[in-house]
C-alpha cells in the first residue's frame, strides 16, 4: 500500500523590480495621504475639543445654553469665566430639518429618476441627465439665496395652510404666526438642494437594471409599471437607500443655505412651522465671527459632533453599497 502524497502547493512570489517598487511606493504614499488627512482632521478635532468636553461633559450635547463671557488676556484671573457652551437644540434642529428635507426629497428623487429613465421621451433624455448633473453642482449658497428671496413666499403659504388645517397636531402648532425662517421652509429648500444628488444616484442605479429582466417582464405581458415594480425597484433599492443616505449626510452638514434660511434659537423646539430652529453647521459659521479662544474650542467640539454624525451616516451608506453591490 502506498499512500498518495498530497503535493504541497508551491509558492508563487512576485518580485517587483526596483523601479516598480519605487513606483508602488510613491503611489501608495499618495493614496495614503487622504488616509493621513482624515486621521489628522479627526485627531485634531478631538485634541482641540478635549478641553470643552472635559469642562462641560455630557451637558455639551444635551444643554441648551451658549454664553460666551467675553475676551480676556491670557492668565487674567481678575474675574471668573462664566462661559457655558452646549448644543443640544442645534443637534436636534439639524436632525429635524434634515428629516423634513428627506421626507420631501426621497419621493421626488425616485419619481424624478424613474421619469428620466423610463418615461421621458428619448429626445430629451440626454438633456435631462445633463441638467441633473448640473443641478447637483449648483452652489448651496445660490440655493440659500433662492430660498430666502423666491421660495419663502411659497413656503410661508404652505406653512400657513398646514397650520390652519392641522394646527391641532403639536408639531404643526405655532406660538407666533411667523412662518418665515422656520424649519419647515428651510427643510423644503434643503430638499431641493438634496434632490439632484439623490436623483442622480437613483437614476444611475435604475439605469443599471439588467435589460433582460425588464424584457422578461414585458414578454410576460407586464406593463411598464409592472416591470418597474417587480424588477427595477427591488434591483435598485439598496442603491437608492445609499443615495438617500448620501443626501442625508449632505443635508446634515449643509451650512450657508440653512444659515440664510433659519433662525437659530437655543431652545428645544419641535414646532416645525415656528420660526425657531437649530443647526450645528450654521451655528458654527454664525458664532465664528466674534468667537473667543474658548469659544473656538467649543465650536471645534461642535464640529467634531457634526463630523461624527455625518461619518456614521456615510458609513451606513457605504456599508449598504458594499454589502449589496452585485459582484461582477
Amino acid at each position: 500500500m502506498t499512500t498518495v502524497e498530497t503535493p504541497t502547493p508551491r509558492e508563487m512570489t512576485v518580485i517587483y523590480s526596483r523601479a516598480d517598487r519605487i513606483f508602488r511606493g510613491i503611489v501608495t504614499a499618495g493614496a495614503l495621504t487622504s488616509l493621513l488627512l482624515l486621521g489628522l482632521i479627526a485627531s485634531f478635532l478631538i485634541f482641540r475639543s478635549a478641553g470643552t468636553f472635559r469642562e462641560f461633559g455630557i451637558n455639551f450635547i444635551t444643554g441648551t445654553e451658549w454664553f460666551s463671557d467675553g475676551f480676556r488676556e491670557v492668565g487674567d484671573e481678575s474675574r471668573a469665566d462664566n462661559s457655558v457652551f452646549s448644543i443640544g437644540p442645534m443637534i436636534v434642529g439639524s436632525l429635524v430639518v434634515a428629516t423634513i428635507a428627506m421626507l420631501f426629497a426621497i419621493p421626488l428623487s425616485i419619481g424624478g429618476a424613474l421619469y428620466i429613465e423610463f418615461y421621458a421621451p428619448r429626445s430629451i433624455y440626454r438633456i435631462l441627465v445633463a441638467m441633473l448633473d448640473l443641478a447637483a453642482a449648483i452652489p448651496s449658497l445660490i440655493f440659500g439665496l433662492w430660498g430666502i428671496e423666491i421660495f419663502t413666499s411659497f413656503g410661508v403659504r404652505w406653512a400657513t395652510f398646514l397650520n390652519d388645517r392641522l394646527g391641532f397636531i403639536p408639531i404643526f402648532s405655532v406660538e407666533f404666526e411667523n412662518f418665515g425662517r422656520s424649519p419647515f421652509v428651510a427643510g423644503c429648500v434643503l430638499a431641493s438642494l438634496v434632490v439632484p444628488i439623490t436623483t442622480s444616484v437613483a437614476r444611475e442605479v435604475y439605469s443599471r437594471t439588467p435589460r433582460d429582466l425588464i424584457d422578461t417582464c414585458y414578454a410576460l405581458g407586464g406593463s411598464k409599471w409592472g416591470a418597474i415594480r417587480s424588477v427595477v425597484m427591488p434591483y435598485g433599492r439598496s442603491g437608492v437607500i445609499a443615495g438617500a443616505m448620501l443626501g442625508l449626510g449632505r443635508a446634515l452638514g449643509e451650512t450657508v443655505a440653512i444659515y440664510l434660511m433659519l433662525n437659530l434659537v437655543f431652545t428645544y423646539s419641535y414646532e416645525i412651522l415656528d420660526s425657531t430652529g437649530g443647526n450645528v453647521a450654521s451655528m458654527i459659521a454664525l458664532k465664528f465671527g466674534e468667537a473667543t479662544d474658548k469659544e473656538i474650542s467649543a465650536l471645534i467640539a461642535s464640529g467634531l459632533v457634526l463630523f461624527v454624525i455625518t461619518l456614521i451616516v456615510n458609513m451606513i451608506a457605504s456599508n449598504i453599497v458594499q454589502r449589496t453591490t452585485p459582484r461582477a
Binding site: 422578461t216 417582464c217 414585458y218 414578454a219 405581458g221 407586464g222 409592472g226 416591470a227
Partner: protein, 282 residues
C-alpha cells in the same frame, strides 16, 4: 424521441404543404405567420424579406451563423423589437390571421400570447421560485385563483416540479443554471401562451441540462407552438419539426431555405444549407 419527431413531421407536412408557402389562402391557417418582414436598427438594415409559417403545435428551429438576424427576427414576433430606440420594421406578422402590428393591438396582450425565454437564465432575483412562476400572472393582472395548481402544473410541464416541490419558497437564484432556465420556462407557461419563443435557451447551460430542456421543449409542442433559435445543429435536428436557415452576405440577413427538419438535414435544396448543417462554415 427522434422517432416521434419524424413521424409528426411527415404528417404535418402533408397538411400544411411547405413552410414558406405564404401565397395560399390564410384564413384557415392557425399559428404564427410572417410576411416579407424586414428589420432596421437606425440606418442598418438587419433583416430582409422573411416570410415564414409556424403551424400550431410544432417546433421550428431557426439556424444560421451569428449576426444573420435570427434574434432580431424572433424579437419581431412578440413586439420586443420596438424597445430598441432606433428600431423599425416592415411587413406583417400574423397570429391566427390577425396582424400583431396593427395599431389597435395592445403589445402587452400580444406578449401574453407569444411568450419568450431568453438566452441567459434570468429568474427575478428578489422573488421565490413560487413567486417567479406566478410573476406573469401578477404582472399581467390575470384573474386566477388556483395559484397552487398553476405552480405545480407549470413546473411539471417544465420538468422541474420533482426537484423543487419541497422548496418553493427558496430564492430562484438558489437553483442551478439549468434549473433556473426551466424555471424561466415555467414562468412563461404560467400565462398560457400560444407561442413560445426561445432565444438560444441552452447556450449558457451544460450538456445534461440542455438535454432536460430539449425534452421539455418536445413535451411543450404537444400543446403550443415553439420557435427556437439555436447554434447547435444536433439540437436543431433533435428537437425541431421544421428548420429555417438564415444567412447574411454582409448586408441584411435573409432566409435561405425553410423545410422539414429531416429534409433540411438530409437533402436540402440549397447547397449553402448543406454546407452549413454539415459544419463546413459558420
Amino acid at each position: 424521441m427522434t422517432q416521434r419527431t419524424m413521424t409528426m413531421t411527415t404528417s404535418d407536412l402533408s397538411a400544411t404543404n411547405k413552410l414558406e408557402d405564404v401565397q395560399g389562402d390564410n384564413s384557415s391557417f392557425r399559428g404564427l405567420e410572417t410576411r416579407a418582414v424586414h428589420a432596421w436598427f437606425g440606418k442598418h438594415h438587419a433583416l430582409a424579406g422573411v416570410s415564414l409559417r409556424f403551424p400550431e403545435r410544432t417546433v421550428t428551429g431557426l439556424i444560421g451563423p451569428s449576426g444573420c438576424g435570427k434574434s432580431t427576427f424572433i424579437r419581431l414576433l412578440n413586439r420586443m423589437h420596438e424597445f430598441i430606440p432606433s428600431a423599425a420594421m416592415a411587413g406583417s406578422v400574423l397570429l391566427n390571421g390577425s396582424d400583431i402590428y396593427d395599431p389597435s393591438e395592445d403589445p402587452a396582450m400580444i406578449r401574453l400570447k407569444v411568450g419568450m425565454v431568453f438566452q441567459k437564465p434570468n429568474p427575478f432575483p428578489a422573488m421565490t421560485i413560487r413567486e417567479n412562476v406566478l410573476a406573469g400572472i401578477k404582472l399581467a393582472h390575470l384573474k386566477r385563483d388556483n395559484h397552487d395548481d398553476i405552480v405545480e402544473q407549470c413546473l411539471t410541464r417544465a420538468g422541474l416540479w420533482k426537484e423543487v416541490k419541497d422548496r418553493l419558497d427558496a430564492s430562484g437564484g438558489s437553483l442551478s443554471g439549468g434549473q433556473q432556465q426551466r424555471l424561466c420556462i415555467a414562468r412563461s407557461l404560467a400565462v398560457e401562451p400560444q407561442v413560445l419563443l426561445m432565444d438560444e435557451p441552452c447556450s449558457a447551460l451544460d450538456p445534461g441540462s440542455t438535454l432536460r430542456i430539449e425534452e421539455t421543449i418536445k413535451e411543450l409542442a404537444e400543446k403550443i407552438t415553439v420557435i427556437i433559435v439555436t447554434h447547435n445543429m444536433q439540437q436543431a435536428s433533435r428537437v425541431s419539426d421544421y428548420c429555417a436557415f438564415f444567412l447574411t452576405d454582409g448586408g441584411p440577413g435573409y432566409l435561405v431555405e425553410a423545410d422539414s427538419t429531416r429534409k433540411m438535414f438530409t437533402n436540402p435544396s440549397d447547397p449553402r444549407t448543406a454546407d452549413y448543417v454539415q459544419g463546413k462554415f459558420g
